[in-house]
Each structure stands twice: as structure tokens, then as C-alpha cells.
Symmetry: C2
Subunit: 413 residues, 2 copies
């Protein structure tokens, strides 16, 4: 990899050769992948990129930590649509707003970007098995992307994992181990198994390449905007890997001169679980919190990438915002009816945060904002039912329909 210099610990600064199965620093800190931007500038231009028809995250090879000989992964990950949302912008009182719908990825979440990277690096490592512990989008995206690549997966889930998510994993042919115990018990057993059998580790707490996959969401947003930099990019935050990846992508583009300024990040967390935002707001180190939110994908009381995330939010001079479950559910409806985008609760938390920041007067009306929807609403239909109310019920009778329309104040023009 001529474009990569090394992996450097974000805590102690120690540097490591960028081997495919790179893990944490000896000090316990997570690594950051360092690039040779001078070299990249000589081989990568906007014109070169524009000539590529490939609608996937692999169009950004020069900025990704993979060997030239490593094949693209099989599923079509990335290049999700960026929709301008003039009606929603007007309703929120905002100059310009775009929605990046990452819920149309192959397994229906942004996590496909990290899992595709894991598959690519597992191949470089010569591994035939990838493992992780997770109950959510990380697990299903790993299972799907690995299945398409012909790799085996072992996925450890706590026994409380929702049956629907387990079914998706099983349909992708993952070997799913349901651990009778807490998430911590599950993680420990997975760690022991990964060490014992030498499986490739897809764990955002350990594998520094995963956020390099996620950063492609940031690269795409800017390319899709024709390199016009928005003032803010809003995204929901759980363990911190996604927002850290987004920031990495933006900084890459700045470093190679594709953009001339950086957007500010908006870190949206649930009011029932916001350890990363609390650390940013108080200036204290982060501490664990309880996980009181229906937005399961960001209900992370012990965030694994807190250091990278906190650094990113601060460095971007970004905003933090906490939204209640009711505000998340309202944002789900708002996005659906104004944009035709159906996001899962964690997926729409960024948009809920934008709305709240405007109401609080912290986001100026003349700002230009991109809001990333990180996962599909079909991932969690139960909460959508709660959020969206009941239909009008009538017999098959026009008079009764008229009465029902009147009663429900339906405007028939």
C-alpha cells in the first residue's frame, strides 16, 4: 500500500506497520491509519475520479487502506443517494438541507461500509473466517458481505438479541452463537474464540480499518455536492466509530486539496444515553452511561471509539445535541412524509438533532446542512408502528368515508 504510512495509536502515538490484521496498540489505544497525502496527490485527481462509473465505495481506492491487487468486495456497498430536501428545509427553517440515505445499502445500513472493508482486509490476511460480537447492523452487514465473498462468519450475540436480527444473520449462513449472559460475557467468549482459532476480527473497537470503510460516506457526500462544502454534517453517534470515520474522510479530502474548508460535525445522541456528547460538553473524560433509548443501534453506554469521536467533534468545532425518544419518533415521521425516506430510530437521530438545534437557536437559519440517515426503518418495524399512529377505519360505504374524512379533518381540496 503505497498510500499508507502506518497505524498510529491515538493515545500514546506509537506506530505500527499496517499489516492486514492490525489490532489495538499495546497501551490499549485504538490505532489511526496514516496516509502519505503527498503521494496520493500525485496519483488522484477530481477528474480521474469523475471518470469512474463504479457506484461503490471502492471508487475511492487511492484513499483506502487496501492493496492494489485486493479485489473489490462483491456487494454494491456505498454510493447511496444524497437527496436535496427543500420541503423539509423550509419546514425546519433552514436554507439548504440534504439527506444522505445509507439505508439502501445491501444489508440496509451504513455498517456495510465497515464490513466490506473487513472482508477486503480479511482476504489480504489470507483468512477464511471472520468473527465479531454484535446484535445489530455490524453483525448483519458482516454476515451478508462475507457470504457474498464466500467467507465464513462466526457471530456471537447475547441471548437477548431480537429474533428478527438473528434470523437475518442465519439467512446469510453465519454460525450464530447465542451466549447466555450479558453483552460483556458475549464479548469475552468471542475474544477467547477469536484468539483460539485465529479468525479475522471485525470489531470496531479493535480493527482500525473499519472506520476507514466508514469514511467513504464523507467522501461521497462531498463528491455528490460537487465539492461544495456544507456548513454542517449531522449524524447519530453510538460507539463513535461512524462519526470518527466521517471526520477522517473529510480531513482526507482537505489534505489532498479536494476541498478548501471543513464542515462542522453535529453529533446527535439519545437523551437516554450520551456519554460521548457529555464528555465534549463538560470537558471531562467520558464515563459509562445507562442505555435508555429505543434507538437500539446507538444505545451504547460504553462507547468503544470514544477517543476518536470526541477528538473529531472538538476538532471540527462541532455541535452536540441530545434528543428524546419522542423527538426521534417525530423525526422518523417527518423524514418519511417530507422526503420519502424511512429510517430506523438511530438512523433518523441526526435529523432529530438538526431540528432541535434550530429550535434551540444554535443552528443558524442560513446554514447548509447534510443529515445522514444511517439505517433503514424496515430494521425496526415495531417502533415505526408506535411512531406513526393508526389509519382511518371505515366500512366499504361512501357516506361513512365522507363522515370519517370530516371527523379526521382530511383536506380533500
Amino acid at each position: 500500500m503505497q498510500n499508507v504510512i502506518c497505524g498510529r495509536c491515538v493515545k500514546c502515538g506509537r506506530e505500527y506497520e499496517a499489516v492486514p490484521d492490525l489490532t489495538n496498540c499495546e497501551c490499549g489505544g485504538i490505532l489511526d491509519i496514516l496516509y502519505d497525502y503527498d503521494y496520493i496527490k500525485t496519483v488522484f485527481t477530481k477528474e480521474k475520479l469523475a471518470a469512474r462509473s463504479k457506484p461503490t465505495m471502492w471508487r475511492y481506492r487511492e484513499l483506502l487502506p487496501v492493496e492494489e491487487s485486493t479485489p473489490d468486495t462483491e456487494l454494491r456497498v456505498g454510493w447511496s443517494p444524497l437527496y436535496e430536501a427543500p420541503r423539509l428545509a423550509k419546514r425546519l427553517g433552514l436554507k439548504q438541507l440534504w439527506i444522505k440515505d445509507d439505508g439502501v445499502n445491501p444489508t440496509a445500513s451504513l455498517k456495510d461500509r465497515a464490513s466490506a472493508m473487513a472482508v477486503a482486509k480479511a482476504r489480504e490476511a489470507g483468512a477464511e473466517v471472520i468473527a465479531c460480537s454484535s446484535t445489530g447492523n455490524a453483525a448483519s452487514s458482516l454476515a451478508g458481505n462475507a457470504a457474498a465473498a464466500g467467507l465464513k462468519t462466526y457471530i456471537f450475540v447475547p441471548s437477548r438479541a431480537p429474533k428478527g436480527k438473528v434470523a437475518q444473520l442465519m439467512s446469510f449462513g453465519a454460525t450464530v452463537i447465542s451466549v447466555q449472559g450479558s453483552y460483556e460475557d458475549t464479548f469475552e467468549l468471542s475474544k477467547a474464540a477469536i484468539e483460539r482459532w485465529g479468525w479475522y476480527n471485525r470489531n470496531a473497537a479493535i480493527n482500525p480499518y473499519l472506520s476507514e470503510g466508514k469514511k467513504t460516506v464523507g467522501l461521497e457526500i462531498l463528491e455528490q455536492l460537487g465539492w461544495q462544502v456544507p456548513d454542517y454534517i449531522a449524524i447519530s453517534v453510538g460507539d463513535g466509530c461512524t462519526i470518527a470515520g466521517l471526520w477522517k474522510g473529510l480531513k482526507d479530502l482537505y489534505a489532498i486539496g479536494f476541498i478548501d474548508r471543513l464542515p462542522k460535525l453535529i453529533s446527535a445522541q439519545a437523551a437516554g444515553c450520551y456519554p460521548i456528547n457529555r464528555a465534549v460538553e463538560t470537558g471531562e473524560p467520558w464515563h459509562p452511561m445507562e442505555e435508555n433509548t429505543l434507538a437500539d443501534s446507538i444505545a451504547v453506554g460504553v462507547p468503544r471509539n470514544a477517543d476518536k469521536a470526541i477528538h473529531a467533534i472538538r476538532e471540527s468545532q462541532g455541535l452536540t445535541v441530545e434528543v428524546t425518544d419522542a423527538e426521534i419518533m417525530a423525526a422518523q415521521k417527518l423524514l418519511g412524509r417530507s422526503c420519502g425516506v424511512f429510517g430506523e430510530p438511530a438512523g433518523v437521530t441526526g435529523t432529530a438533532g438538526v431540528k432541535k438545534l434550530i429550535e434551540q437557536g444554535r443552528l443558524p437559519a442560513d446554514a447548509t446542512v447534510v443529515s445522514v440517515v444511517t439505517g433503514n426503518g424496515l430494521k425496526d418495524v415495531a417502533n415505526a408502528i408506535q411512531a406513526c399512529g393508526e389509519p382511518i377505519s371505515v366500512p366499504s360505504d361512501m357516506e361513512k368515508l365522507l363522515a370519517a374524512f370530516a371527523e379526521n379533518h382530511i383536506d380533500l381540496r
Copy 2:
């Protein structure tokens, strides 16, 4: 529309001017849109198409029945991935197989193609409201695409409609009318309301433009294959509109000289409901059937586009095949684990049909086949749970894990 000649009734041959709110023929027959292929040949070439970067169904404008001034619809519909599936091909004993994953459309099914067309035509008609009766993918795709376009929708569902699907509709801001009665009662009330208020009608039984939207799946398959014609294209069949649209697209390409032969269609229906296949197989007119299958999207006992579908299957010299619910569920697992594609039951019925035809010796091993997955497995998680079995359950203990792996014959290499 310089490219369109008229709408012609498939039953009596009567011709109608192609106005935006075209409906059925006076004789009750559905219309087919006729094109001026000589004109199209003068304005549309493969080179022109290849130069378009637009990854949506609207890249085929010259073959679509819309005015030049009509804007593209808002959501990114179409240009779904076509995956080559060598491992699945080998497992089935087939020379070459591709999977077209239409479950990654904005509302997660192929129906988005028809609904985007409905939105475009409603705009041409000056309509601000679109209506239909449906409980499934047609309804959710209409609600989503219309919401993105700022149009209102009235959607009539029978009271037995699944709550999850209703929730998705409500999240898109549709006015949902739950009719206490059968589907027929629901349809009648919607018909009366559409007539009374003059709403634009998105109903595949009536609106001849919808299958013109669906045909883009066929256009894409051929373009993605570099105009190399596969021997067969397999797809699940319910009311017949989708397979009829697919065939229309293929014939369009043949008519303008983009391809030099036509593939054969494989019409896959559920063994518990196959009125269209039965008509093809017996040579008799179609008759209603009961709807005994878990593949709800194709549980159509009274198909609305039977005439067009039967004609298409026959004209292509295609194959018909009926698959049991058990075979559908097996195909769901097979697609998931070999390709990383998670389809809903109706979505994977085409692949189940391919498998069965090979086992029956009706599909030769040296055939090249495309199988279309019409909808996302997340649409129906309950059935996936049934299909995919239970995970391995252990305490957080390596010895117990070893014992469980041995017991389950897990190959750890």
C-alpha cells in the same frame, strides 16, 4: 411524447391517445403502450446511453412514456445491482447465473419502478393526489415516491393488512383508509373515491404506464450484461404486471436493435396459487384460484394483468414452474448464504423456480440465467425466522462452546 404512438387494447385492439390519465379500454381490456421504434432508433444509441452517469431508471428516457419536460422523480429508483453468482451457479449445476437485487430500491422492492412512473404521469396530468388500493409493496412504494415528490396519497387497505406495512405507509404520510371487509370491498370503495375526487389512479389493473416503469428492470439487466443476452430470465409472478413489464423491456431492446435475440422467461408462481401458470400449461383461459402461500406479494388468486403475462410467457417460449412454500424458504436461505442477498418470500420465488427446473431436468446445465429478486427480506421478518432456524446457545464458557461446536458438527478447519 414523440416516441409514443398510442395505447392499444390487448383484448380488442382499439387505440387511444396516450394522455397521462389513460385507463382501461371500454371493453375492459388493459392497454399496451405502443412506441415509434423507427423514431427512437434515430435518437437513442448504446453509446449515448453508456455516456449517462445517472444510476436510475430514468436513464432510459427514450424508451419511457414521459414528456421531455417531465422531471425525473425524486427517489433514486432502479439501477439495482446485478451480481454474478458463481458459487450458487455451481451449487445448482448451472453454467452461469446472475442475481438482480431489486430489494435495494428506495422502498425496498421492484414496485418502486411502477410507482415512480405513476408519480411522473400524475405530474403530467396536473394531479396533486394519487390513490390506490393495496396492502403491499405497491402501496408502500407509491407512498414513498409520492411523499418525495410532495404529492398526497390516499391508500385503501383491507382491515386485515399487517400492522408493519400500515406503519410504513403512515410514516410516508399517506392517508390510510382501513376498510372493514374483504379486498374486493376495499377495491370498490377506492374506485368510488377515485371517481368522486378525480385522484390519479395508481393501479396496475387500470393504469397502462405502470408496466412501462417495471420494464426498466429488463433494460438494466441487458445493459449491465453488456448486451449479452442470457438464455433465461426468472421472476416471480403474482398479478402478472411485473413479468409483462419485463418482457416489454426486452422486446423494446430487440425492436431498436440493441439485442439480436430474446431470452426466454421463467414464470415462477407458488404451488398454492398459480392461475397464470395454469393457464399457460393447460392452454385454457385463466381462472381464479385460492391464495395458499406465505409469499404474500404473489398470493394473487385473481390476477389483474393475466392477459399480458400469459402472452409474454408464451411469446418468449418460456417455462412455468410452481414452488412450494418449503422450497421458497429454502431458496431464501440459499440466496442469503451463497450471495449475501436477503429476499422476501415472493422475492426469492424466481430463484426457487430455477432450482426446481434444474432438478426436473427442464433447464439445461449449460444455460445462462438471470434471476430477479423482487423485494427485500426485511419486508417480512416473521417468515425469515421460520426459514432460518435457531442459533447455537451456550454459556460464556470455552469448554461449553467446544462441546456445542462438536455437537453441531461445526467445521472449524
